[in-house]
Symmetry: C2
Subunit: 424 residues, 2 copies
Amino acid sequence: MTLIKKPVTGMKDILPDEMELRDYLIAIIKKTYRSYGFTPIKTPAAEHIGNLLSSQGGENEKLIFKILKRGEKLNLNNVDKELDLTDMGLRYDLTLPLARYFAANSSKLPMPFKALQIGSVFRADRPQKGRYRQFTQCDIDIIGDASEFAEIELLLAAASVLSKICPENKFFIRLNNREILKAMSEYAGFISDKLSDVFIILDKMDKIGLAGVQKELIESGCDEKSTSKYTGLLQKLSESKDISKTGDLLKKELEGFINEEVVDSFIFTSEIVNNCKSLDFDIVFDPSLVRGMGYYTGTVFEISMDGFSGSVAGGGRYDKMIGKFTGTDTPACGFSIGFERIIAILCDSGFKIPSLNEKTAFLYEKGIDRKILSDILREAEAERTDGKTVLVSSMNKNKKFQKEQLNKQGYTDFREFYREELKR
Amino acid sequence: MTLIKKPVTGMKDILPDEMELRDYLIAIIKKTYRSYGFTPIKTPAAEHIGNLLSSQGGENEKLIFKILKRGEKLNLNNVDKELDLTDMGLRYDLTLPLARYFAANSSKLPMPFKALQIGSVFRADRPQKGRYRQFTQCDIDIIGDASEFAEIELLLAAASVLSKICPENKFFIRLNNREILKAMSEYAGFISDKLSDVFIILDKMDKIGLAGVQKELIESGCDEKSTSKYTGLLQKLSESKDISKTGDLLKKELEGFINEEVVDSFIFTSEIVNNCKSLDFDIVFDPSLVRGMGYYTGTVFEISMDGFSGSVAGGGRYDKMIGKFTGTDTPACGFSIGFERIIAILCDSGFKIPSLNEKTAFLYEKGIDRKILSDILREAEAERTDGKTVLVSSMNKNKKFQKEQLNKQGYTDFREFYREELKR
C-alpha cells in the first residue's frame, strides 16, 4: 500500500524559502518584544475540552479539533453524543491557554506578568486560499495591570515590531473601547438584548459603510429613531479628527451613559502613544471597531497597513477571563500580530531576507581520496566557526546546472576539489 | 462554573526561565545546523491516520492521539471500532512527516535535501517524571545521498551542536549497522523469525550485561549453541578497541554473511569522523546498539555523554521509508537530538544562560505627569534601539522588594522617576 503524500486537509507543508522568512520574522519579533521586558512562555497545544467550550472563544468554539479519549475512558458501546468521546481539544487561540497558565502558575510569575507567546493554533475552518487549519499566532499580553499603561506598552511594542518587519508600509492604529460602544448603544436607545446584534452589524462598517449599517440595523428590528440617533453620532465622531476634541465630544454626547474617567483614560492612551512614537504611524479613534471575541471588556485596537485591507494586528483588554479560572478577576490586556497575514503580504511583495552571512559550497569529486575529504571537512568546519555557512557536497555530472541550483539557494562562492589534488 | 487550571494530563506549562533556556538552545542549534547547509522546514502537527499506523512508528503507534472526525464524516449511530471515528492523529515523531513532505514536495526541493526540523511531537505515554505527552524534537536529515557522506555530515554536525551546548561534558558516539546486526545473527545460526526478538534482547545490553543477554536469549527459545556463538562474537568485538582492527575482525568472522563493502563503508565513516573532529569526543563501534524503530536499514548511531545514562542523541539510515509514499526507494539518513533530555541535564546542573544584553528597569511613581511619562517611554524606546532591554513599570509601595524581584529576573540597573520631577 502506498501512503498519502499530501498533508491533511487544510494544513500546510512549509517549504524552505517560506520557513527562512518565518524564522527571520520570529527572530525580529522575539528580540523586539524581549527588549520591552516580555518573557517567552509555552502552553500545551491541547486544552481541556471544558475550558475550550466555556464561551470564551466565540465562533471559534465551533471549529475545535477534538481529541479522542483513550483506553478505558473511551467506551464505544455507549456513545450518545460527541462529547462522550473527547476530553480535550487543540487550542484555537493563545489567549485562553494563557489565562489558564496564569491561573495555574501565578505564584511563580512576576506581577505584572508580561508574556510573549508564539505558537500554532488550530481551527477547522473551511479550507480556502491563504487560510489554514493550523497557523501561527504571535501574542503579547500584560496581566495584572489595570491601568492604561498596559495598552500603551502593547501598542508601542507592536508598532515597533511592525515598523521593523515592514519598514516601507505606513500603518495606522485604530482604537475603540467596549464601554464606549455600550454607552453609544444605550445613548441611541437600543434595548440591551440587542447589544450583540448591533455590534455584529457595526463591525461591518468597513465593508458596507454607514448607510449599510443603518439599513441592516433597521432590518434586524431596531427602531428608526434610535438607529438614526446612533448613525448620527457615528457620523459626528468619524468627522472629528483631533483626538482630544473627540474626547470632549464623547463626554458631552454620552453624558449619563458613561463614566468620564473611561473617556479620559481612553484619550490619555491615544495621546501618550501619539507623543511617544518615534515611528511614522497614525493613531485614530474608530467608533465602528468592535472585534469579534466576546471576552473583551475595555479598550480594543487594531493595526491596519496602507495598501492592505483588513488588519495586520489586533487585541484588547479582557479583565474577566482569568477570574473564570481563579474566581477572582485579574486585569489583562493582549495584542496579537497577524503573523500569517504578514507572511502573505511579504511573500506577495517579493520581499527578500537580508543575507546575513556568506554561503560557500565545497564541491568534491566522487571517489576522492579519504585524506583529501578529511581535509575538506576540516576546512569547512573551520570556516563555519568563523560564522560562514559551508555546504559540502559531491559534484554532479552537470556541474554547471548544480551550481545554478545552489546559486538559487544563496550559495555565491564555490570551491572545487578533484580526485587528483592538483587539478583544482 | 470555574474552569480547570492545570494543563491536560501529561502536558506541561513552560515557565519563563525554562523557556529562556529553550530559546537559547534552539538558537544555537539552528545557527549551527544552518552553517552546514541544513534548511529549516515545517510539517503540520497532524497526519493522516493511515500514514501514522503504517508500521513505520513501532511502539509509538500505540501512543497516537487521534483526532475526532468532523461534520458529516462523524457518524455516531454506526460506531463499530475506534478507527470509524478518526481520520487523522497528532504526529509521534518528525521522521514520518518528513518522508511524506519529501514525497509531496520533492520537485521543489534541492537534491540531496538537507532538512532541519524543530517541533512538537505527541505521545500518549504513561505520565512520569521528566517524560511529557508533548515534547520538542530536533532533527536533521539528509535525503537523496546513498553514500556514507550523509552519515559523516550528520555526525559532525550533531557533535558540533552538542559541543556548543554542553562544552563541559565529554561525549562519545556509538555506531552500529543493521546489516552487521543481521549478519551477526545469521552467523550465530539464529532462525530469521527470531531476529526481532534477538534485537530487543541485545538492546538491553547496557542494563543487563552480556550474561543477562545470554540468559534472556536462551529463555526466549534460542538454542544454546547459537547463543554462545553469538555472545562469543559480541565479547570479541567489545574487546577490540581499534576501529580498523574491528573492521578486519568483522570481515573475517562474518565472511559469507555480509558484503565486505558494508564493513568497509562503516569503518570509513568512523575513521573520517574521527579524523575530522576538532572536538573532544570518542567514536566507538557498539555491537549491541540496535535502536528501537523498525525503519532503520543501515547505520545506526547514538551519542552518550559522560555522567549521564542513556543517550542524548540518536539516529540512523532509513532507505525504505520514502518509497512507501512514492513507490521508489530514496536513500535517507537522520539524526535527532534529545532536546528534552538536554534541557533536563542543563536544568539539573544549574546551567546559567550567558547574559546577552544589559537589562534596565525604569520605575515610575503612579500618577506621574503625562509629560514625564512620555519622556520616560521615549527614553526607553531609544535605549531599546541600542540593543538594551528596558522594562518600564510603575513603582510598588514596597520598592525594595520590587527591586529584589526584578533582580531575580536579571534587571541589574534601576532608574526611578517621581511625580515631582526633581525628586529622583
